[in-house]
Symmetry: C2
Subunit: 561 residues, 2 copies
Amino acid sequence: MSHPHPELGSPPALPEGGLRIVALGGLGEIGRNMAVFEYDGRLLIVDCGVLFPEPDQPGVDLILPDFEYIRDRLDDVEAVVLTHAHEDHIGAVPYLLRERRDIPLIGSKLTLALIEAKLTEHRIQPTKLEVIEGERHAFGPFDCEFLAVNHSIPDALAVAIRTPAGIVLHTGDFRMDQLPSDGRLTDLGGFARLGSEGVDLLMSDSTNAEVPGFVTSEREIAPVIDEVIRTSEQRVIVASFASHVHRIQQVMDAAAKHRRKVALVGRSMVRNMGVARDLGYLKVPPELIVDSRDIEEWPPEDVVLICTGSQGEPMAALSRMANRDHPIRIAEGDTVLLASSLVPGNESAVNKVINGLTRWGARVVHKGNAKVHVSGHAAAGELLYVLNLTRPSNFMPVHGEWRHLRAHAKLATLTGVPEDHIVIAEDGVVVDLVDGRARIVGAVHAGYVYVDGSSVGEITDTSLKDRKILGDEGFISVVIVVDSNTGKLTAGPEIHARGSGIDPMQFDEFIPQIERALAEKAADGVVDMQEIRRVVRRTVGRWVSDTYRRRPMIIPVVLEV
Amino acid sequence: MSHPHPELGSPPALPEGGLRIVALGGLGEIGRNMAVFEYDGRLLIVDCGVLFPEPDQPGVDLILPDFEYIRDRLDDVEAVVLTHAHEDHIGAVPYLLRERRDIPLIGSKLTLALIEAKLTEHRIQPTKLEVIEGERHAFGPFDCEFLAVNHSIPDALAVAIRTPAGIVLHTGDFRMDQLPSDGRLTDLGGFARLGSEGVDLLMSDSTNAEVPGFVTSEREIAPVIDEVIRTSEQRVIVASFASHVHRIQQVMDAAAKHRRKVALVGRSMVRNMGVARDLGYLKVPPELIVDSRDIEEWPPEDVVLICTGSQGEPMAALSRMANRDHPIRIAEGDTVLLASSLVPGNESAVNKVINGLTRWGARVVHKGNAKVHVSGHAAAGELLYVLNLTRPSNFMPVHGEWRHLRAHAKLATLTGVPEDHIVIAEDGVVVDLVDGRARIVGAVHAGYVYVDGSSVGEITDTSLKDRKILGDEGFISVVIVVDSNTGKLTAGPEIHARGSGIDPMQFDEFIPQIERALAEKAADGVVDMQEIRRVVRRTVGRWVSDTYRRRPMIIPVVLEV
């Protein structure tokens, strides 16, 4: 089994007849999935998603894969295959298209309809959208076969990529629901057929590799949702992901059964469900839906609201309801149903929302106290099926943090994949499939690219370190004006501090210390501005540290007149 | 059932013969437990703990209860009863003793030994420590009876407080382990006897009120720990709380059985286990313990390290091992056992630690994949026993967030406590027990007091708001020097920015805009410094918002010469 090699250097040239695989995201993290395949100088990309920031990445809106590795070779890209329309698989497409507008986007009907709606919001008119109709299609040297997989969004695909280097099967995200409501099963028959043909490399979803056993069927949620709505005396508010068409279908079915009207709340919910309905993925009985702005006209017991915000996003409707900062005011007897997963990293935010809603008297039903969510990702017991059916010569776990990749690798060894044919790679690690063997041959840069406001990539890790210091400790700026000839103080020191928690009165007492330190320097005949800055920084830093045991950022500003 | 009343005013005077209860912490949050009882002008305090900060309280070390409510009445305090030695029950004692040194501290032997060690670190010499020996002791008008409870630290107590107003039973934190290794059961017989006598108000631990069923016995962990150590080929590193004597006893027993040496890592672990051993709560076989600095002298297969850091605390040994920033370098084949709960709010930090350890090749065993932790708090099924045995006239759930308090209140109604005899109070809400009825009569201020570095209470919510803005967006300061007569620019504008993610080169292009805006003002004949600041702030703010769609903090600094 290959282990992390922080010392990996630049990769050698790709041998003729070899296939190169570089993940720019999704390995070592859950999110921003993007894999770049190279054969004979041509590139195929599978997915192009975003990662959502953690608390130690403050102020960041989104994290993109770093396109630097392919930036000079965008013309070599034959296509971007989008396995399904979740943000962690399509969210970075608008940013990639900014760099080359006419990259062909390939996917199923719903996937492309949702990416098109997204691109429209970004004011990007894609030039090439190609819906997978048949099962097989070649993009340059990449002969792709698409296989149905079941996931927590309809119309998801796995892709088998055939090149002279061999067959690579990339599962995308999948689960193995054996009783899906739309009858669209993960195509295990297809996986078996590929296995017989010979899968040279399996790249398989590792998200739930640590979870033992099996994921129950989505349809097992229906009776629970039905019961929640049946027993609710007032309004029912359901929060879910805006892409979970089947979950929302179940909510709508239960609402219709209990003669409640449904209102959709939240821009992405309204947009996506519109697309899903137009394309026939969502079946909405006539007159079920009412406009959320008119919802107060209906008695509370006749209403189901479906909204976003299940992850505690502070600006979403649900958080604002919890804070009494939304037109819909939670009242005693209301029921809130969080029909969604709890994405790691969001625990505190969701807990705050649950407490806020509970405080105002709502009953909150969530996956912690009722069977209102099943995962969209196959668990360990199911991943074994895929490994056994495909019998890959080489295995590379994808879509997961280290803990998930390692757990998945362990499962592969249990099914008989030799340890030295298992590649655990991180983002940027270069894997070559040559003569039937997958090996790590080097690494390229694959850092985080931060989106903040309208700018992409301008926020760096240095900015984030500064934000961390500023956020934890605040800052103190000391402004002085000195005579450039004598080095003597002309004005100031003026001290400004924010977030430091130090009473400004304290500064007045301290200013003489700065003046004394500067006067000493001036007496030395020093007029070096750098040196004056250093003196100010050191004097203030020592005072704060000694007096308060704190380390705010200290900004000395010296102006000359 | 009483509901939140944001409009609660100051409480009226306490009627003669009535008992007043004000929680300064622990209601609406898990932590900083502190309840103040008042009878006939005298005060009794139960617990005095700290709360650990959430991600939206950056840079804060600890959060204390606000002592303002009792500050003028410290001389009326008869005693502080400490139910057990967890930080959320004793952590604020040093800060309270700073305000009055000779407040008597009452508790069991281990509790007082641990608080004494803590006070010594704070360089505080307490004057009155009183170990509970008998079961009953009066402190002024408060006739207290102490009852054993089982918890995740030895020697925990519940307290029944008798005054002419009635009997209040405060459970402290407890669980109902029916097979505790030290044989010290929660005294349900005592609870039943009090129930027969007549409990006028039950205040009971709500932490696990949402968890259905029962908590299994601590001893069920022993075979799992044994198996983990038996099957480990290299080092075993166990992370746990530094107060969990019984858990650490089980680890030491298993280590001894498998002929491994044990080293303790971490200041609080070494300190607390020393106290527990000296007092006989921890049984350590001779020659089991070795100094952690000598650990490299032993073969990896002969070693168990016990350390802190199970909550992902960044400075603790475990996090530093995960980051390869510790003398103990994790290697393939090492086993790390997180034998602890995962405290809400720490999920991301612990996940990072697990991924880091896994990346270096460690097997990580935690409560998610093995039965290596049981909770220290009674679950819903067990809380019903306490309600049924004590049959309280009034019930007030304590120690919990809103979700837990509400869930516990629901349990009380199921056992027959009338809804209007249940009081759900938040921190600061004043509850009076008068003529056998507990009622909310008002509220006092009970905000957060932040400890940051050596200062207490100097960080305010305003400072935290500033830190939030600085942490998310950084700042831009614009310094100008103007002639106080003409308002004309003498020096600057000099722009400094940190954490804003804006390239300083951009400022150079923007400076003329500021100069122009100032020149316009000067032409108007305006020399008002406030107005100049406003112009700078507005000009810069608009530019950043339009160009970058961001909102950094903008600090205009205007000096006059």
